[in-house]
């Protein structure tokens, strides 16, 4: 297990070092059994929203978690943020286990005691992250609906200053204003002064999204989880927001985990792509590799049907039949086999193993082979 990282968040570091490590994460939502069901003690069914996810996000990396509805990607985001509690598996942030931070942000006693025993290893500038509140200072989230993520009655200033107030970091009003101005400028809203006193209904979708990003940046996090950050914006302004996220990575070393259903967007600015289907990651690898040589038939199908603005390109489209099945009654063996164009008999019997087919490029498929 890696040692707690002592770098303060204001020092950006690129490249190596695992920032976020997820192993076997599961989250199930039990379905109510009803009166008769409870009486007859029928086993409770559950929606297996995420069923064993593992991935690593490097420091300074931008990774996309791609999938259609029902695949579990938003549940993953909420669980990573601590807004939902994981049922199984671990989440490690900077090497520390943050999976089960208590509801009130108190870490279990034993862990605190253990940390205290190790305290001599800590630098004075070490930022303890073992409380949920502490974690939230370093991991922030950008939500998908810019029309809904802002309180309609709050001014931009109030919204962006809120994180500072919540964490007790508010100084004098002048200091607050200064920090809010900086955050707005970092999010590309210039001149910041113009925006401070506006309410959400006076802003466009793109501006609102920037306000949300400014609010996320003001705590100087090192990881941003962006849930469909541009899906609800006009196409012609999406690039601005994506470029902003890219810039934040380059200039400030903020890592980004981007959740999206749009492979095209994901392909544009991410370093790694992980494709999800029915609660599992079916393929994960460097963006270029996944696009050029998709290993999993689901990824191949997705890539083949995504519309491309080029009418001269005639591709063979692998349109899958049917819809994503109900996550309550999962297919046997490989979850994708009922819709898979290349499914064989053994695919219905055994769950495929997660394996590395080419360096850095993993998949879970019985039939996948390395290209070339």
């Amino acid at each position: 297990m890696a040692e707690p990282d002592a770098a303060a968040p204001s020092l950006p570091t690129h490249g190596n070092g695992v920032l976020l490590s997820v192993d076997g994460l599961c989250k199930h939502f039990p379905l109510p059994r009803g009166f008769i069901g409870t009486l007859t003690n029928r086993p409770a069914e559950a929606v297996h929203a995420i069923d064993g996810i593992s991935f690593e996000l490097q420091r300074g990396e931008i990774m996309a978690l791609v999938g259609e509805s029902g695949c579990g990607k938003t549940t993953t985001a909420l669980t990573l943020m601590g807004l939902l509690e994981a049922d199984e598996g671990t989440i490690r942030f900077n090497g520390e286990d943050v999976t089960h931070l208590g509801k009130r942000g108190e870490a279990p006693r034993a862990t605190i005691a253990a940390l205290e025993r190790q305290s001599f290893r800590r630098e004075p500038s070490f930022q303890p992250t073992l409380t949920m509140k502490g974690l939230r200072r370093q991991v922030q989230m950008v939500f998908q609906d810019p029309y809904e993520s802002l309180n309609p009655r709050a001014t931009v200033y109030e919204t962006v200053a809120e994180p500072l107030e919540v964490h007790g970091l508010a100084g004098t009003r002048e200091q607050l204003l200064e920090r809010v101005r900086h955050a707005l400028a970092d999010a590309g809203l210039n001149p910041a002064e113009d925006y401070l006193w506006r309410r959400p209904h006076e802003l466009s979708g793109g501006q609102r999204q920037r306000v949300v990003i400014a609010g996320a940046l003001i705590l100087e996090p090192i990881l941003l989880i962006a849930d469909e950050p541009v899906s609800m914006l006009d196409v012609s302004i999406r690039a601005e927001i994506l470029n902003l996220l890219d810039e934040l990575r380059t200039r400030r070393g903020i890592s980004v985990l981007c959740i999206t259903h749009d492979l095209g967007t994901a392909a544009y600015f991410t370093d790694r792509i992980a494709v999800m289907y029915l609660g599992r990651i079916v393929e994960s690898g460097p963006t270029r590799a996944v696009l050029a040589h998709p290993l999993h038939p689901y990824t191949q199908a997705l890539l083949s049907v995504i519309p491309v603005p080029n009418p001269r390109l005639r591709r063979k489209r692998m349109i899958l039949t049917g819809e994503t099945p109900n996550p309550v009654h999962l297919p046997s063996g490989c979850r994708f086999h009922p819709r898979c164009p290349i499914a064989k008999t053994h695919c219905a019997e055994a769950d495929p193993i997660w394996r590395e087919v080419t360096p850095g490029h993993w998949t879970a498929c019985h039939e996948a082979v390395a290209p070339g």
């Binding site: 509805s69 006009d234 690039a239 470029n243 049907v305 519309p307 489209r317 349109i319 819809e323």
Partner: protein
């Protein structure tokens, strides 16, 4: 497909203008829109939010909200001017000859009636059957055409998935065998795979039934997949219109060019995505000249003063831009 049609088009819209009269002024949602739709042709109507594309389509069907007024123009459907007839005649045409697949199919269904009943009702209302029972065979036929199994006829909308509701919406629109179908953002809010299924369905239906389709969308990539011609709107007016190949490989209007650059192209992943700075114009406070002038990178003085008219710059390729006025090189009109 590349030949000029010699017989009159199925739908000929000339100079359509629609305004909304509100307490905040007059919103000139559509101005001077003209286009033609041939039999069996698929036209993509592309534009972003607030560009007037949905308003234009609702105008054709005369289903505008109370504040909307068609202030000028003609819409000749096989010779009949849709704006010149009165409401009772329009009712005979609406759905029988031209119908619409509404955006947000999820919300277009009555939640307390079965899907089959609602389609049957449409048939009875339009005189194709005397009662719900008589409508049954056609309901089954329609559902099968769109790929919904007949047994699902007695289910309620909430029991259908999003993709299935969209299919049911398509079935409803085809109930009276129209000549023209307007599909308003049929694949927005759907997963990529379902989107592909729906587009394939629309393509197949168009071929088999000889439909003329107007596909209204903000997604240029979708248009590239299944449309013959494309019409790009901006700020309520036509910006560019031509065959689909021309839009993508020879775009002339500055807006079209930049819009193309905003869509990720998976076949060319190294390309940079562009955005268009600024915001679409407020339709009750329009600039005097070209509506795109405030955001255009190639703007001239003339653009700010005079609104460009659509001109046929190449055969079948119309552009509304001063940069492409034949003989306008020196600012001559």
């Amino acid at each position: 497909m590349t030949e000029r049609p010699t017989n009159p088009p199925l739908l000929d819209v000339r100079n359509l203008s629609t305004h909304f009269v509100t307490s905040e002024g007059v919103f000139r949602a559509v101005e001077g829109l003209s286009f033609r739709l041939e039999r069996g042709e698929s036209l993509g109507l592309v534009g972003e939010s607030g560009c007037g594309k949905s308003t234009a389509m609702l105008s054709l069907l005369r289903l505008l909200p109370a504040a909307g007024r068609i202030v000028s123009g003609q819409a000749l459907l096989d010779g009949t001017d849709l704006f010149g007839i009165d409401e009772s005649d329009m009712r005979a045409i609406r759905w029988h000859r031209i119908s619409m697949i509404f955006q947000g199919a999820m919300n277009a269904f009555n939640p307390v009636r079965t899907v089959g009943d609602q389609i049957a009702e449409a048939l009875v209302f339009h005189g194709l059957a005397r009662d719900l029972g008589e409508a049954e065979p056609r309901v089954a036929e329609l559902l099968e055409m769109v790929g919904i199994s007949g047994s699902r006829r007695s289910q309620f909308p909430h029991q259908y998935s999003g993709g299935m509701r969209q299919r049911a919406m398509i079935a409803m629109a085809l109930a009276c065998n129209p000549q023209v179908v307007i599909a308003d953002e049929p694949t927005t809010a759907l997963d990529v795979m379902i989107q592909a299924q729906i587009l394939e369905l629309l393509e197949r239906l168009q071929r088999e039934l000889g439909l003329a389709v107007i596909l209204v969308t903000h997604d240029l990539s979708v248009v590239a997949e299944i449309c013959h011609r494309v019409l790009v709107m901006y700020g309520g007016v036509l910006a560019e219109s031509c065959e689909v190949d021309g839009i993508f490989n020879q775009p002339m209007h500055p807006y079209t060019r930049r819009l193309l650059g905003a869509f990720p192209d998976l076949s060319r992943p190294e390309g940079k995505l562009v955005s268009i700075p600024g915001y679409p114009p407020r339709l009750n406070a329009l600039p005097p000249g070209c509506r795109f002038a405030p955001r255009c990178t190639e703007v001239h003085e003339r653009c700010r003063q005079e609104q460009p008219k659509p001109r046929e710059v190449l055969p079948g390729h119309w552009v509304a831009c001063h940069l492409h006025d034949a003989g306008a090189a020196n600012g001559r009109t």
